[in-house]
């Protein structure tokens, strides 16, 4: 039995795939605890998981676009969150005495504390943000990120000569993507395990009876949309789906306040049982922002995508999906209803992208998911 500590940020898209790995480790008889913001982790994980809280403090909402979003992510979240959690994490590691840490790339404090205590640690990359160095064409941006990380290292009073990039464990980097999307061969200590898909219970709250037989269905799930641009995009989406014809039934998952008036056959819910909808074969395509989890889940179920990326790693993931032939990328801020309808038709009415989605999904699943991740983590113990 090995004792694992999962250091995760208070971000749903990071916690959910890690939960699949945690469940696999627990099923193998290991002891697993989480550490982070308990007020966020607990509702996502349920009452059964052990959560060692690092305290709660509000951090800047993740918003904006492009470089402003990148700056906000680092200066408004990654660095201040690492500073805020550094001391509590140290105390938690002293008390819990883990054998191995799994540290999300957005929580570098976990890597620092592991290094201080001489504990083996793995990095967790649930997105494409750092993998493949998306900003390698902008060396000064990479230097800025490295400078911020070195600042955290220095603040932790760790020896400068021992500096290790806290996003990349030299022992193991677990990623939920795979070569079918990234198009590259990873070094041996990288484990691209593909999507981590954990069984979810049936959702009786979803209006299953409203899914009309004989229709092609598009799930629209855009993550945390907000503001004028978010509402404007959804209005264009509703129009685009109307242009696709009455035999296409949209299922919107997201805040209803941003949605315009919908046609009677459309379904709208605040939260959709996405995996259950996919597993039951209720969907024909997915329109999303290009977040790695949704993309991985859709491809794992052979569903082609239309992506409208907004920020962070989404443009990179969207480009990978398009390059793999499994989807079409549209510009979130600029796509017209007509162009969006064309994109949706191209994934609904032709087989090429669906075939590619099936192939890419199979290749991603071959990464082994939670079982492969657990194998690699066990080897560190």
């Amino acid at each position: 039995m090995t004792r694992f500590l999962l250091v995760m940020p208070p971000l749903t898209g990071h916690v959910n795939p890690a939960a699949g790995i945690a469940a696999e480790l627990a099923a193998r008889g290991h002891e697993v605890a989480w550490t982070g913001t308990e007020s966020v982790l607990r509702p996502l994980l349920g009452p059964g998981e052990r959560v060692l809280g690092t305290g709660t403090r509000a951090f800047r909402a993740q918003g904006g676009h492009g470089l402003a979003a990148l700056r906000s992510l680092w200066e408004g979240f990654i660095v201040p969150y690492a500073r805020f959690t550094a001391k509590p994490l140290d105390a938690i590691v002293r008390e819990y005495r883990p054998d191995v840490l799994l540290v999300d790339q957005h929580t570098p404090a976990g890597a620092l504390v592991a290094h201080r205590h001489g504990l083996p640690w793995a990095s967790f990359a649930p997105g494409a943000m750092e993998l493949g160095r998306p900003y390698r064409a902008l060396p000064q941006v990479e230097e800025w990120m490295t400078g911020l990380l070195r600042g955290l290292w220095e603040r932790a009073r760790l020896p400068e000569r021992e500096y290790v990039d806290p996003r990349f464990s030299p022992a193991l980097v677990l990623a939920t993507s795979g070569p079918a999307l990234t198009g590259r061969t990873d070094p041996p200590h990288h484990a691209p395990v593909g999507p981590v898909i954990a069984a979810r219970p049936h959702d009786p709250e979803f209006p299953w009876e409203r899914l009309l037989p004989g229709r092609r269905r598009v799930l629209v799930t855009m993550g945390t949309l907000a503001g004028e641009l978010g509402a404007d995009f959804l209005a264009r989406t509703v129009r685009a789906l109307e242009l696709c014809g009455g035999d296409v039934q949209p299922v919107f998952a997201g805040p209803r306040a941003l949605l315009p008036e919908l046609p009677p056959h459309a379904v709208a819910v605040d939260r959709a049982p996405v995996l259950e909808l996919m597993a039951r074969g209720e969907l024909d395509a997915v329109l999303c922002h290009g977040g790695m989890n949704t993309v991985g889940e859709a491809l794992a179920h052979g569903l082609p995508l239309v992506t409208a990326p907004i920020r962070h790693d989404q443009p990179f993931v969207a480009a990978q999906v398009a390059a793999a032939g499994a989807g079409v990328r549209v510009p979130f801020a600029r796509v017209t209803p007509e162009r969006l309808a064309d994109a949706l038709r191209s994934v609904l009415e032709t087989t090429g992208r669906r075939d590619s989605a099936v192939r890419v999904g199979e290749e991603l699943l071959a990464g082994g998911g939670a079982a492969a991740a657990a194998d690699r983590l066990e080897a560190l113990g």
Partner: protein, 107 residues
């Protein structure tokens, strides 16, 4: 550096200050942006590529390729961006693109 909320995509930016940009450059920007033709009126000299035109990294990479194809190796947006820090990248405008064009194309 603070950034205003991106304005709605229908509205032109500072139309009264708009000065001509080489039409071919505007066409290339519209093309890589996957934008409707009317969006071209936003491609003014002072429009920032990131915060105003909302071009992301993959679109800027595509734009760099198209500029080199059309205007030659000296129209090297990739090299220009590679030499900039984050504030410099945030401040990059259509006028900066225009300055990359060979003199005969910049009119």
């Amino acid at each position: 550096m603070s950034h205003p909320e991106p304005p709605s995509f229908e509205k032109p930016l500072n139309p009264e200050r708009a000065t001509p940009v080489a039409p071919e450059l505007v066409a290339l920007v519209v093309e890589v942006a996957g934008a409707p033709p009317g969006w071209a009126r936003r491609v003014t000299p002072d429009a920032r590529l990131d915060a105003d035109l909302l071009l992301d990294e993959t679109e800027l990479s595509a734009l760099a390729g198209r500029l080199r194809e059309r205007f030659g190796a000296s129209a090297d947006l990739a090299a220009l961006r590679a030499g900039l820090d984050l504030p410099g990248l945030e401040a990059l405008t259509v006028a900066d693109l225009h300055r990359l064009l060979p003199e005969e194309d910049a009119r």
